[in-house]
Chain length 324, copies 2
C-alpha cells in the first residue's frame, strides 16, 4: 500500500515519460506544455487511491489513471479558450501562447490520446470502463455548457448551481475513484458507493474552490484572489448573496455587478464586505462540510481495505483544509 | 447484398433516429443541427461497403458505422471555427448560428458520442477497432494542423500537400472501409489492402474537390466556385501553378495572392486563366486518375466478395465523376 506522496511521485514520473511525435509541432508541443504545468494531479491520484481500496498492486493501473489526467487537461485547454483566460497555473494558456486554432486542435488530440491510454486496460473491463468514461466525459461537457449559460442568466438557483458543479467537476472525481476500483475488481454495488462518495467530495471540493477565490491568502494562492468577484462569476457565494442581500446591501451588490468600469481592488473589497455582512463564508463552509461529511459516511460504510480507506480519508481531509 | 441507394437510405434512417437529451439545449441542438444538414454520408457508406465485401448481414454494423459520421461532423464543426467559415452545406455554421463556445463544446461532445457508438461493437473486436479509430482520429487532427500551418508558409511542396490531404481526408476513408471489413471478420492482411485502397481513393477524392472548387458548374455546386482562389488556399492547383508559372504569369499570380483588396470575381477569372495556360486542370485530373487507378488495382487484387467489390467500384467511379 502506497502513501499519498509515493503515489504522487509515481504519477509525476509516469507523466514525465509520456512522449509525443515531434511533428506537427503546433499540435503536440501544446500537449506536452499543458501536461508539464503540473497541478495537483488529483484525478489520477484518486484512480490509484480507488484501486488501493481493493488491491495494492498498481502496476497496470497507472497508464489508465493518466487517461483521466489527460482528459482533464483537454477540458482545461478548451475551457481556457471559452473563458478567454490568459493564465493557467501562473503560465500562459495555450490559446495565448500559440493561438485559438492550436488550442482547439491540440485539445481534440488530447481527448483521443486519453482514449488511447484507456486501451491499456484489460480487454475484459474495457467496455464497462469506456461506458463509464463516456458518460462522465459527456457530463463534464454538459456542466461546462450550463456554466456558460449561467453567464447569460440573472438568477441562478442554488440547486442549479450544485447540479452544474456536480457535472462540471464532481462526476470526474467520482469516476476516478470508481475507475480505479473497477480495475482492481471491486464489485459493482461497492463501486457505486465509491462513485457517490467521489461526487460528494467533488462538490465539497468545488465549494472550497469558490471560497478560496475570495478568502485565500494571496501569498499562497496560485490565482488572483477575488478573480470570481471581478468577473461576476456565478459562484455559490454570489448566488447566496444575491438571494439574501436586502435594501442598500442588495442595491450596492447589484451596482457592482452592473458596473463596466471599476477599480478591481475596490470591487473585491466591497463585495467581500457584503459577503461578510451576510455570513456567506460560514454558509459556504457549512455546505462544504456537509458534502464532505456525506462522503466520509459513505467511506465508513464501504466494504474495502481498511488502510486504503484511511489513506483516502486523509486525502479528503487535505482537500478540505487546502490553501490553494 | 444492398445497392448504394439502399445503403444510403439505411444510413439516413438510422441518423434520423439518433436522439439526444433536450438539456442543455446549447450543447445538444447543434449536434442534431449539423447531423441534419446531410451531406454525402460517404464515410458510413464506406463502412457498410467494406462490410459487404465479406458479409451482407449489416444489422450490427450500422450503429458503429454512424460513429464515423459523427466523428466526421465533429471535425467539421471544429474546422469551421478555425476557418471562420460562415456556411456549411448552404446553412449557417454552428459557431455562427450559436457561438464559438457552443461549437467547441458541442464538437467535443460529438467526439465522445462517436466513441459511444463504437461501444455497440462486439467486445471481441473493440480493442482493435478503437486502436485503428484512435490512430485515424489523431492523424485527422495532424492533417488539419498541417493545413493550418500551410497558411503561414510561402512554399508548399507537392509531397507535403499530398501528405496533408492523406492525413486530413484520406485516412478516414481508408479506416471506414477497413472498419466495416473488420466487423465482418476479414483477415488482417486483406484489411490492410482495403485500407490502402481507401487512402488512395481519398487522395483522389480530395484532388477532385480541389478541381471542383475552380471548375464546377455553379448551378450544381453547393459552395461558391472559386472560393479556394479567393482565400489563397494552398490547393494542389495553386501549388502546381506557383511551381510552373514563369515571367509575367508568375508575377501576375503573385500579385493576386498579395492583394488585400480585390474584386473576387476578377481574381477568380484571372487565376483560373493562369491555371488554364499552365494546363493545371489536366495535371490535376491526371494525378487524380492515377490515385483512383491505384485504388482500382488494389480492389482487383482483393480477395473478397465479387458483387461487393463491384458495388464498391461503382461508388468510386461516382466519386470520380461527381459534380459537387
Amino acid at each position: 500500500m502506497k502513501t499519498i506522496p509515493e503515489l504522487q511521485e509515481l504519477i509525476k514520473s509516469e507523466i514525465d515519460q509520456i512522449t509525443y511525435p515531434s511533428q506537427p509541432s503546433n499540435l503536440y508541443e501544446p500537449i506536452s506544455y499543458i501536461l508539464s504545468l503540473g497541478g495537483k494531479r488529483m484525478r489520477p491520484l484518486l484512480v490509484l487511491l480507488g484501486h488501493q481500496l481493493v488491491n495494492g498492486q498498481l502496476k497496470n493501473a497507472i497508464k489508465p489513471a493518466l487517461a483521466v489526467e489527460v482528459f482533464h487537461n483537454f477540458t482545461l485547454m478548451h475551457d481556457d479558450i471559452m473563458d478567454e483566460a490568459p493564465l493557467r497555473r501562473g503560465m500562459s494558456t495555450v490559446h495565448e501562447k500559440w493561438n485559438r486554432t492550436v488550442a482547439i486542435l491540440s485539445g481534440d488530440t488530447m481527448l483521443v490520446k486519453a482514449y488511447d491510454l484507456l486501451l491499456e486496460l484489460d480487454p475484459k473491463i474495457l467496455p464497462e470502463a469506456l461506458r463509464l468514461f463516456n458518460r462522465t466525459a459527456v457530463e463534464v461537457c454538459e456542466g461546462q455548457q450550463i456554466d456558460m449559460d449561467f453567464e447569460e442568466k440573472n438568477i441562478v438557483l442554488v440547486e442549479e448551481y450544485i447540479n452544474m458543479i456536480r457535472l462540471k467537476t464532481a462526476v470526474l472525481l467520482g469516476f476516478s475513484l470508481e475507475f480505479g476500483a473497477l480495475m482492481a475488481g471491486m464489485p459493482e454495488s461497492e463501486r457505486k458507493v465509491l462513485y457517490d462518495l467521489g461526487v460528494k467530495m467533488g462538490i465539497g471540493f468545488q465549494l472550497m474552490d469558490d471560497l478560496l477565490d475570495v478568502y485565500a491568502d494571496q501569498s499562497k494562492f496560485g490565482k488572483q484572489v477575488g478573480g470570481d468577484i471581478i468577473s461576476n462569476k456565478k459562484t455559490f457565494l454570489l448566488i447566496k448573496a444575491l438571494e439574501q442581500a436586502e435594501g442598500d446591501s442588495k442595491k450596492e451588490l447589484e451596482n457592482w455587478l452592473d458596473k463596466e468600469a471599476f477599480d478591481p481592488k475596490e470591487k473585491v473589497t466591497a463585495v467581500t464586505t457584503i459577503y461578510n455582512q451576510l455570513g456567506i463564508k460560514e454558509q459556504t463552509t457549512d455546505l462544504m462540510n456537509h458534502y464532505f461529511d456525506e462522503a466520509f459516511n459513505l467511506l465508513d460504510q464501504l466494504d474495502a481495505d481498511v488502510e486504503g480507506k484511511q489513506i483516502l480519508k486523509n486525502f479528503a481531509m487535505q482537500l478540505m483544509k487546502r490553501e490553494q
